[in-house]
Structure formats: structure tokens, C-alpha cells
Homo-oligomer: 307 residues x 2
């Protein structure tokens, strides 16, 4: 089946990290600086308030404040996809409405994720309640499929049911399952539906299968390389760039991703504020950090200059 699109453009998206102040509240100034740096260095767009942005560690009010700060900064909102999926449907509705008002290109919506062994009917009803709660023809909703965090599987049949019921609203997915055959099946089965790989490891494969890009944690640092893959995906040379990209990404696999990425940005920027992280997450230890730096240095990996 063919889905109707109309959300933000495809490409390389970072699931943007969230810089925190000393009291572990979001630091809007540092956040805007980071967003601009990402957009100037390989990112076509940003996933705001996603898993990597520690979104679920913040109250709805804190998240509304972040959306407002991003909108007020004059960033290209049409290339922002804002995470709005909470355990409680009224919270998802409230955040999605604010995202729409901010001019965001789309919203990235986790299913309510506290309960497990939930039926496909229950998940469908949850998404329907969110969509009907927002009640706007302008809503562009991206399903956020992240079974490792949610414990919930969003099947191809459920995706099809959602696209059929809300063809102009349910326009895409971020598939963070890490399951390539499933991602490929989505690309093939739903032409026009915007499939973003949840990792840049599958960026080239997804583009070749009909996907539109990637939204990934590690593109907070690998975006310039990922952008080269994106620009060249229909050319033979893309394979070697993807290989290099995957090798850098793999270095992070041995570490808790958010803590490791924040540590690398702290080193890069000299701003120790990047070490702030809200519990239950913890900062990377000194020894792990040194080991990670050594691996990145050995791979001759460097970050783009700060803006």
C-alpha cells in the first residue's frame, strides 16, 4: 500500500543530545548552540526530545519549555521532528499540540510504554486516541519503534492499519529495533511511507531499499560522515563511506550511548556542562572515557569545529 507523505524532508537526523545545567534542568542556550552546530555539520534535520535527548526524564512542563525555546530560536522548525510519546495519552496529546503550534515538521511518538504484553488493538487505540486528541489535519506523526526500551513490538500489520486509518497523518517511522529485515520489509511494503533507520549503520541499506534517511543517537558526532553517505547513496563510492561510518559508530557500541556521546562532546568543546546527565542515567567513568577517546583517536576520528 502507498502512504501519503508530507512531513519533513528525509536525510540525516541526529536524535539530539540535551545539554543540562548544573541542577540537571535543560540548558536552552547550550541546546540551541548544539542544534545549530549539528545543522551546520551534516544534519538535515533534528529529532528533538527523543530517547537520546533524555526526553522521558523530563516532566511535560520541562519538555514544553524545550519546544518553546527551540521555536523561539528561529531554527528551521520544518526540519524538526519532536518526540512527544509518553505513558499517558493526555501528555502525548499536549506535547504534540505544542509541537504543531511551534511549526515542527512532525512528531515522533512512542506508544504508551509502561504496560507490556499489550495487544495490537490496544496500541492502535492508543495511537488513535493521540491523533484524535490532537485533532489537526496538519499533524504528521512518525511512529517511534524502539522495542528494547518499550518492550513493545509494533508489527507491520499494525503499521498498515495505522496508515490506512490515518493516511495523511501517519507518515513515517523511526525504526530503532536494530532489526534490518524488519526495516527492509517496511521500506518495501509501504512505498511513500518515510522509513528512517534508527541507526546510521543501516543508512545506506535503508536508502537503497526505499527508506528516507536515519535518525540516530551517534549522528550527534558522526553526522558529517553520514551526510556523505546520504549525498552519494546512489553511487558506488557510498559503500566505502558507509563502511567508515559504521566503523566509527561501532566504537560507541561498548558504552552507554548517551553518556559516551556527552563525554565526547565535553572533550570536544571543553564545556564540562556536557557531563551533566539526569538519573537514572550516569556519566561515563574516567577510565571508560579514556578508553573511548583512545579508540576514537586510533580511528583518526575528529569532530567538526564548534560553531
Amino acid at each position: 500500500m502507498t502512504a501519503t507523505t508530507g512531513g519533513p524532508p528525509g536525510g540525516v537526523y541526529a536524535a539530539a543530545l540535551m545539554p543540562l545545567a548544573g541542577d540537571l534542568s535543560p540548558d536552552p542556550k547550550a541546546l540551541i548552540r548544539h542544534y545549530r552546530w549539528l545543522l551546520a555539520n551534516g544534519c538535515d534535520g533534528l529529532a528533538v526530545l527523543g530517547t537520546t535527548g533524555e526526553a522521558n526524564s523530563f516532566s511535560v512542563e520541562e519538555r514544553l519549555g524545550v519546544i518553546d525555546a527551540v521555536a523561539a530560536a528561529g531554527l528551521p522548525m520544518d526540519r524538526m521532528i519532536i518526540g512527544t510519546g509518553c505513558c499517558a495519552i493526555p501528555d502525548s496529546v499536549r506535547l504534540s499540540r505544542r509541537a504543531l503550534e511551534s511549526g515542527a515538521g512532525g512528531v515522533l511518538v512512542l506508544p504508551p510504554f509502561y504496560y507490556k504484553k499489550v495487544s495490537a488493538d490496544g496500541l492502535f487505540a492508543a495511537y488513535r486516541a493521540i491523533i484524535e486528541g490532537v485533532a489537526s489535519p496538519k499533524l504528521r506523526l512518525y511512529i517511534y519503534h524502539f522495542p528494547l526500551m518499550t518492550g513493545l513490538d509494533i508489527s507491520l500489520d499494525l503499521i498498515e492499519r495505522l496508515i490506512r486509518a490515518f493516511p495523511s497523518t501517519v507518515v513515517g517511522i523511526k525504526d530503532s529495533s536494530g532489526n534490518w529485515p524488519n526495516m527492509e520489509a517496511m521500506c518495501r511494503r509501504f512505498p511513500g511511507f518515510q522509513v528512517f533507520a534508527g541507526t546510521e549503520r543501516y543508512l545506506l541499506a535503508a536508502l537503497r531499499a526505499g527508506g528516507v534517511g536515519c535518525i540516530s543517537a551517534t549522528t550527534n558526532v558522526t553526522a558529517p560522515l553520514a551526510a556523505q553517505v546520504y549525498a552519494n547513496w546512489h553511487r558506488a563510492q557510498a559503500d566505502s563511506i558507509q563502511e567508515r561510518l559504521s566503523a566509527v559508530r561501532a566504537i560507541f557500541e561498548g558504552y552507554p550511548a548517551i553518556a559516551a556521546l556527552k563525554r565526547v562532546l565535553a572533550r570536544h568543546s571543553g564545556d564540562s556542562g556536557w557531563l551533566n546527565i539526569r538519573p537514572p542515567l550516569s556519566a561515563l567513568g574516567e577510565e571508560e572515557a579514556r578508553e573511548l577517546y583512545a579508540k576514537l583517536d586510533a580511528a583518526a576520528f575528529t569532530l567538526a569545529k564548534a560553531a
Copy 2:
């Protein structure tokens, strides 16, 4: 090590179901009626806004409203333990403060549960942030251990660390792991620490090992039987009552617990409002309901009269 107690008394607690209005918002009138019925029929106390109460499907504002409604109804607040654990620490703090103000005997606190593979240090930091955020010597906190829902394990060592750091605050646990050896180890290792079995299946065993009672979903209907176990636990006849209790409870194991319990209460009360359930949960289907009723009838199980 010995913990300092001072929370609500032990005994049989229901993780009370949440009756909903037609628009799927909490129905305070029906809720108070259900709470009174439970307290009149075997419950020593209630867990308000726990997993069975669909708490995480409600916004913080909706939950604050429920706490206020319970407090305003003149129920014995010292025998109420209120669920306040959210993904975001500020939300857990806000709800815990309101619970304290309401006079609740204690709060039942899930760790922030979105992120997985979180370190024990991270979980400790999260509980510390909640306790320091509430900042009241009156706080009595029960750890809510439910790895099937949270994907997080709270180890005995972490419990010991929390008791040592906050001996007059961290006074007990609801262990919904279903792992009896772990529950028994808690009872033995932390004398004075109030261990509530998360299922009445282990009520007698927990009491004999030094636990203080149970907080369970199915005690919404089995409380009178559970109360007989509690009253007789030091007598030989307790074993046969526990056997009967476990047999009734086992009937529910083949069904989604919350939907099945709501269905049984709808049948019992004649109030179809009990069928309302908020997505992602779904009501029990007709066929499953008939099968469940038949099993309960075959076991000659009946509920106490409505108040």
C-alpha cells in the same frame, strides 16, 4: 541489617483498580465506593495509583486529582500507600509531596523506567533525587520492584544501600518480581524492612519469612480470603486457606489481569462503567469473559456484597 520502620501497618493490600468514566478519565465517586468496599471486605490498606490502578496511563494532573479525591473522602489515609514513581524525577517528587500532604501512610515508588540497562549507581541516584526533592522527614518510601514492567532489576545490594543512606525513609518494598527466593532473601536480610509480596500467592510464605503482607492486583477480588490467611498465618490451618486463595488467584493468570478484574467487577456490580479501560490496555473480549466466569463459578468463587 535492621531498617527503621514507621510506615503504614502490614496486612492485605489491594493494588486498587481505577474505575473510569465514559471519557476514560478517573471516576472519583466510583473509586471511593470501590475503596470503601475493599476496606470493608478484607483489605487492611490500599495501594492507590499502582500498576493495577493504571496510574502510568494518567497525567500527573489526573493523578493529583485522584489523590485529592481520596483524601477528601475521609478514608483512613494512614493505610494508603500511593504510587508516585514516574519516568521523570520532578513528576515523582511532585506526586510524592502531594501524597505526603494528603496524609498517606507511604509512597510506592517505581524507579524511572524508560531507560534500560541502567546501573545500580544510576538507580540509587534516582531514588536519592526523589527523596531529597521531597525533603521531608515524614516521607515513608516503599520501593516498587516490578522488573517485568520496568525492565530494571533492583538488587539486594541496592536495597541495602538505600536503607543505609535513608534509614527512616526507605522503609519497605513491594516485590512484584514473582521471584520467591529473592523475596525470601529480602525478608531475611533486612529485619524491620517491610516486605510486601507483590502477589497473594506468596502471602503466607512471606509472613512466615518475616514479611508484612501483600499488595496485589487480584486482592481486588480475593481480599476476604487473603484476610483469612493473614489472620491465621501462625496457625496450621493457614496452609489450606492459602491453597484455596492461590487456586482462585491462578484462575486469573491466563488473562490480562486488569481487564479481567474490571470485567469481574462489572459482572458483580452490574455497573458497566467497570469495562472502561484506558489504552494501551483493552477490555476483555466476550468469549474470554464467559470462560473466566465459568472458571470462577466452577471454583465456587463469589465476591462480597457491594457496599
